[in-house]
């Protein structure tokens, strides 16, 4: 059975984003507003990810990787096409989302667990384990504003990884903490993969991608350029990325 399936998914954003003012809405109602058109972040993307599979999404900035994860997580609805999910999903799109600097580490931990969908009982059972994993020790009872940025993401990752998902969506978050903690994260994720969990993974680190995934999908300007074995895709993607002159030349040629 597939864990996540995209069927001809497209996603567009109105170009007006950022100026949600009454004026623009009124102008649009009267039909005299300048229509700024739409921007397609994803264009007709189809793929199927099996259960227990780990797939990497690669591509340059603005290729649509985060939009793809947002759709996979159900945060956004596709403009056209269909996104199908089977299983309990945990989106690690941002570590420590909703953390507040004036609350202590422990208070933030519980709030974050609740937002991520852990029940009260499970949260209470796992508090100790989470604190342990984070390695924050006594700092856990200090306000978050006294933490270093590394400590904040360590706490965030420790909570998120406890939400026992079947499908993990990870957006560029493996660069957390120091080398030792990164190693620990990687081992935890390896363990989850071996336990048959599915992983959809966005990263700019070719090393991490090769390490974690057998398959990769290369996105470019919202469209799937290539889908296949991780080495082939990375070679093709990196080959292209290493020749930036050629790309800009061909791009300007297309637009002219």
């Amino acid at each position: 059975m597939s864990a996540i399936e995209f069927r001809h998914v497209s996603k567009s954003f109105p170009r007006l984003t950022g100026q949600q003012l009454l004026r623009t809405h009124i102008l649009r109602w009267f039909g005299s507003g300048v229509r700024h058109g739409e921007f397609f972040a994803l264009k007709d993307v189809s793929f199927r990810m099996q259960q227990g599979e780990s797939v990497a999404i690669v591509g340059s900035n603005g290729a649509g990787k985060s939009t793809l994860l947002g759709l996979a997580a159900g945060l956004a609805t596709p403009t056209s096409g269909q996104v199908i999910r089977n299983g309990r999903l945990n989106a690690l799109l941002e570590l420590g989302a909703g953390f507040h600097p004036d609350l202590t580490g422990a208070e933030n931990l519980i709030l974050n667990a609740a937002l991520l969908g852990l029940s009260r009982r499970k949260t209470m059972e796992r508090v100790e384990q989470i604190v342990d994993y984070s390695g924050l020790g006594e700092f856990i009872n200090e306000p978050l504003r006294t933490y270093s940025s590394g400590m904040v993401v360590r706490l965030g990752f420790s909570v998120a990884i406890q939400a026992d998902p079947d499908i993990l969506l990870i957006d560029e978050i493996l660069a957390v903490g120091d080398a030792a903690f990164q190693e620990k994260c990687r081992r935890t994720l390896d363990g989850l993969i071996h336990a048959g969990k599915s992983l959809l993974f966005v990263s700019h680190s070719a090393y991490a991608v090769r390490e974690m995934c057998k398959r990769a999908i290369w996105l470019d300007h919202g469209a799937v350029m290539m889908d296949g074995d991780v080495s082939d895709v990375l070679d093709a993607y990196e080959g292209r990325a290493l020749a930036p002159k050629e790309i800009s030349a061909s791009n300007s040629g297309r637009e002219a």
Partner: protein
């Protein structure tokens, strides 16, 4: 797909709000008490000393009966309206049901309401009005006000995602409301032909009934209570409906 517990999330969001608000204040909870007391003192001074046609020893308490439900309504409406915008980062990253943000915002203002109701009841006793059995109506009256605010906040928080001016509309409406709710004047001064339409304003209806119970020692009018129930439940239903309609576009518009 989000497998969490509503009650757990709501409780945590309310607790967060409360802790964040009071941890950095040396006077803490007294701020909740100070504000209505100051307003009560100022209004009493103006309307018994300057415009001295309102007299009577219980004028201050009558003002307080209105200030408590009115200020709850105003603050809950304004802060609830911007709640989605303030949590934009979370909404774009975590698949938690979006309703929790406006609801939690209203609920955390309910904590302040409870504190201020305590103040009001204390003041009623100080002014020599005893406890009467109609006090049992008070939870019903305030419960209906809370339902109304919940519905209103669901609508306006969702609108505010699409039209950022919504917040300013709410602020202006609140200023107008201060004059259209019988705060510093009594309901009996309103010309008879406006009575019906006045009671359709839920805040005015709440003020009216709170005064009837606390000052006159009578049960609230069935007519007023019926109107308020209708308006409150209607508003809540409308709020849930509008919110679920608008929720799909939050990701793009935040």
């Amino acid at each position: 797909m989000w497998a969490g517990e509503y009650s757990f999330v709501l409780r945590n969001l309310v607790e967060k709000d409360f802790k964040v608000r009071y941890r950095n204040m040396s006077l803490g909870i007294f701020w909740s008490l100070l504000n209505p007391l100051i307003m009560m003192a100022v209004l009493t001074f103006v309307f018994t000393q300057i415009f001295s046609n309102s007299s009577g020893a219980d004028y201050p308490i009558s003002v307080l009966c209105a200030l408590v439900p009115l200020s709850f309504f105003q603050i809950a409406w304004v802060s609830g309206t911007s709640s989605l915008q303030e949590n934009a980062a979370l909404i774009k990253k975590v698949p938690v049901p979006r309703q929790v943000f406006p609801i939690a915002s209203v609920l955390s203002n309910c904590l302040h309401l409870v504190i201020q109701i305590g103040l009001l009841l204390g003041a009623v006793l100080v002014f020599g009005r005893g406890v009467n059995r109609y006090w049992l109506w008070l939870p019903v009256i305030w419960g209906l006000e809370i339902l109304f605010v919940l519905g209103l906040t669901l609508v306006f928080s969702a609108l505010n995602v699409y039209v950022r001016d919504t917040r300013y509309v709410v602020e202006s409406a609140n200023t107008v409301l201060f004059w259209l709710v019988p705060v510093f004047y009594s309901f009996s001064l309103i010309p008879l032909r406006y009575h019906e339409i006045y009671q359709l304003n839920p805040v005015a209806a709440v003020v009216l009934m709170v005064r009837t119970v606390l000052l006159d020692g009578k049960p609230p009018l069935v007519h007023t209570l019926g109107l308020l129930s209708m308006v409150s439940f209607g508003m809540l239903a409308a709020g849930l409906l509008v919110f679920s309609r608008l929720t799909k576009g939050f990701y793009e518009h935040l």
